[in-house]
């Protein structure tokens, strides 16, 4: 297929424009990265834009020595990995039967589950339930109340429904029972949706802030999200009209905040490329119903 000269030009122009747009998404991240690597004075005078000035690792050093970031990071990873495993296990176990037309009460169960998308118990009642179950100050309090995201479960159900029934029939004839059918046939065929949901759940748990704040009381169990949020928000104490916290206005310098943000986004940035090839297929799921 040959391209005309005009096509080529327009393609180059369009690529260039898209490149600029992509770059504009990268700019804030670059800015944060540069601030985290720059000298204090350059940061305070606002001279750092996309490129670090007086490069130094001072901010990272202060961050690692002066805060609990390492333990918060490991807490965040534990909570995320644990939560993702639980959520995936439960989501698969809920989605699989609901995808089968011969499942008894399928419609009723689906409606009951859908109901939770519209109505929720509210913060305090949920807290009281979690408390009476003795889960306060454990990560179970974060995992269990939202172990299945209805939306994610529906995505997975739709994907399961899309797998042709001939494959199932063949497996049954070869002697598979339901569990074998699910684990040996359906799941291996569902890698795109599994990768997608891993990412959805992973990002969800990694970013969870309010629930950690509410349910976790011991600061040694705080996750990195809570720690970094504290640092970023400390600036707002100053601008409150009263500024009543007079003595202890311990301002966190921008360089250290930025270093914290970089550490915070790092795990997700690392994981993303490995899941991306599945993710692109998976996120389209259910958008066109055949």
């Amino acid at each position: 297929m040959s391209e005309s000269y005009g096509d080529k030009i327009s393609r180059i122009i369009i690529s260039f424009i898209l490149f600029l747009i992509a770059l504009s998404c990268l700019a804030p991240v670059l800015n944060i990265l540069s601030i985290s690597l720059s000298g204090k004075q350059a940061v305070e005078s606002g001279q750092v834009l996309l490129w670090p000035l007086d490069i130094t690792l001072q901010s990272y050093e202060t961050l690692f020595k002066g805060t609990r970031i390492l333990s918060a990071l490991s807490n965040g990873l534990q909570m995320t990995i644990g939560g993702v495993l639980l959520s995936m296990a439960f989501t698969i176990c809920a989605a699989y039967p609901l995808s089968k037309s011969y499942f008894f009460g399928r419609r009723v169960f689906t409606l009951l589950i859908l109901f939770t998308m519209v109505f929720s118990g509210g913060l305090i009642p949920t807290y009281l339930v979690v408390k009476s179950l003795g889960l306060i100050d454990t990560y179970w309090a974060i995992w269990l109340p939202g172990v299945i995201s209805t939306f994610n479960m529906l995505i997975m159900r739709s994907y399961f429904e899309g797998i042709s029934s001939e494959v199932e029939d063949a497996a049954r004839i070869d002697g598979c029972n339901e569990w074998q059918l699910m684990s040996k046939i359906i799941l291996p065929l569902s890698m795109p949706v599994i990768a997608t949901l891993l990412l959805f759940y992973g990002v969800g748990y990694w970013n969870s802030f309010m629930s950690v704040l509410i349910y976790i009381n011991s600061t040694d169990k705080y996750t990195i999200t809570v720690l970094i949020q504290q640092m970023i928000q400390s600036q707002s104490l100053l601008t409150e009209a009263l500024a009543n916290d007079v003595q202890a206005i311990q301002l966190v310098p921008d360089g250290i905040k930025s270093a914290g943000i970089i550490i915070l986004i790092l795990p997700m940035v690392i994981v993303y490329p490995f899941l991306q090839k599945y993710f692109v297929q998976g996120v389209m799921l259910g958008s066109v119903k055949g």
Partner: protein
């Protein structure tokens, strides 16, 4: 075949990990319950402590570190600490109270968090425990009745522990002295002159680079106070016992900023710079002529030691001087002052051991405890220096071991009780030239400040806003809405040129106030004022506290 093996393994692995997780978290849950068994005769209580995420990992956590250990060993009670994230304390405390698991003693600065707890009957009055068990704190409130009055709620009982603070300006304005000299100007004494000087700073190229890239001033902390204050629920003046709502302060402030904006004297983007970061950068880069900023406590050193050095590095000839607040059309106003009588702690209604709580408060109110929980231990973290005040032995070590203390464990300690070493002026090390300068500037600032008080300058508002009551629940949303919308009306007027005049904005603002039950809010404050006029901490009381501390301040600064 191969694939199915892999899958079997994956599933097995998943199950194993889940099981491990279940076991580890269950263990963690059990650990906590075994610690509360030592020392039977001491009372026990639980208390909150702010967590700012700034404690080094090597020190432990805010609930458990060398200082909590010290408190439990040296103090009169066994204290279990519950950390409350500083920036989310409202959320956290509300959940703890709503679920009935709040600690016994709650340390919190923010009245808008504590007042609703009183309204919901979640708090225990403290009169009895003071009468029955207290020595130190009892003496403190006898000597300083203001502390008692500020803690009395509408049912006539005391509900809050508090402390006395150093009464100094919270916000100041500094001016580029070198620019004044270069342009042959004098420091502005009225807001009209403030406008003239700012205009000259913006237009006459004071930095000499041939470009019009300087700003006259920044719209920063305290500028609205120059015109009589900017807070809606504090905009009252007492006329023969009647509270009269003020609008002219808002009018003059809006007109002033609008004029500066229209003539390009200030940063056109000031509205989006909501935390002042851009304004500070401009100032540090030598682009701002008059800088309005918060400058109390640690911010004083930040301004005069760190920021001044950065400014001089960027602009070698820069010289700063303190600018007394200019006189506005409504008269001369004083800088906002730190709340000198600050309420900081409340007691949970369901607390079991009031005696332990009271003994703990007494312990915290003692100067020795105050010293340790501010600077660390004598001989370990500090020695007495030349002026008789603590000098850090090893600043690097202290950064780790005492840096996270701030004031978070002793929020009820009254600074004036501790004497001169607790005053900011006593903390400068005059052997270092930059700290000497900070001290000299501190003196210059106080001289201006005392002078303004002597001239009968007015307080920008009815009184310190922490001493105003919270409006009742049914008016709260109205006040919040009005408090968002009305300032936005003024802001639109500031930046809209001739299309939205100040007159129109004033009319809209007053209509908005009426729309949100402003009359009822006014009535609420009027009733409160009439009933409590004699006990409210008013500006005259604040000024008299300033005067009480004046002699000591001057002694230190001599």
């Amino acid at each position: 075949m191969f694939q199915s093996k892999v899958y079997n393994r994956t599933i097995a692995l998943t199950c194993a990990m889940l099981a491990i997780l279940a076991i580890t978290t269950a263990c963690v849950g059990k650990e906590d319950q075994t610690t509360n068994s030592s020392s039977a005769k001491k009372g026990s209580l639980s208390a909150t402590v702010y967590d700012r995420g700034l404690i080094p990992a090597s020190e432990g956590t805010m609930e458990k570190n060398r200082w909590t250990k010290w408190i439990n060993e040296s103090g009169p009670a066994n204290v279990t600490f519950v950390a409350v994230p500083r920036t989310e304390s409202k959320q956290k405390l509300n959940t703890l109270f709503a679920s009935g698991s709040a600690p016994d003693l709650i340390f919190e600065f923010e009245p808008s968090i504590k007042n609703p707890l009183y309204d919901q009957k979640q708090l225990m009055p403290i009169d009895d425990m003071i009468n029955n068990y207290s020595t130190v704190y009892k003496k403190l409130i006898e000597e300083n009745p203001a502390l008692k009055q500020a803690s009395i709620k509408s049912d006539g009982k005391m509900y809050e522990f508090g402390k006395l603070n150093e009464a100094i300006p919270q916000n100041i304005a500094v001016i580029r002295q070198d620019w004044l000299e270069k342009l042959n100007l004098t420091a502005p004494q009225t807001t009209e002159e403030l406008y003239q000087v700012a205009k000259a700073f913006a237009e006459n190229d004071p930095d000499g680079n041939g470009k019009k890239d300087t700003y006259g001033l920044n719209i920063g902390a305290g500028l609205s106070d120059v015109f009589g204050g900017g807070s809606l629920n504090n905009s009252y003046v007492d006329v023969n016992g009647e509270l009269v709502r003020q609008w002219d302060n808002h009018r003059y402030h809006t007109e002033f900023v609008k004029q500066l904006f229209d003539e390009g004297i200030i940063d056109k983007d000031f509205i989006t710079d909501n935390n002042g970061a851009k304004a500070r950068q401009d100032f540090l880069n030598g682009k701002t002529g008059i800088y309005f900023t918060q400058a109390n406590t640690s911010l004083w050193s930040r301004l005069w030691v760190a920021d001044y050095a950065t400014l001089k590095a960027n602009v070698p000839g820069a010289e700063l001087a303190i600018l007394a607040y200019p006189k506005s059309p409504l008269g001369q106003y004083i800088n906002w002052i730190n709340n000198p009588v600050q309420m900081t702690a409340v007691v949970n209604r369901s607390a079991k051991d009031p005696k332990a709580i009271m003994e703990y408060i007494d312990f915290l109110s003692t100067p020795d405890t105050g010293r340790t929980l501010t600077s660390g231990l004598e001989g370990v973290h500090w020695n007495n220096g030349a002026g008789g005040c603590p000098n850090a032995i090893d600043p690097e070590k202290n950064k780790t071991e005492t840096g996270y203390l701030g004031q978070d464990y002793n929020m009820v300690f009254s600074v004036p009780e501790g004497g001169k070493c607790f005053f900011i002026a006593g903390t400068f090390n005059v052997e270092k030239p930059e700290e000497k300068l900070a001290k000299d500037m501190f003196k210059a600032n106080l001289d201006i400040f005392y002078d303004l008080i002597d001239q009968q300058a007015s307080w920008p508002g009815l009184t310190h806003s922490e001493h105003l009551p919270s409006v009742p629940q049914e008016l709260l949303v109205d006040l919040q809405n009005a408090g968002t919308e009305i300032p936005n009306i003024f802001k639109s007027a500031m930046v809209s040129g001739s299309s939205y005049t100040v007159e129109q904005a004033m009319a809209d603002a007053q209509a908005t106030w009426d729309k949100y039950n402003g009359k009822k809010i006014d009535e609420f404050y009027q009733t409160w004022y009439s009933e409590n006029k004699d006990t409210i901490l008013m500006p005259v009381d604040i000024f008299s506290i300033v005067n009480d501390q004046k002699k000591l301040q001057e002694d230190i600064l001599k």
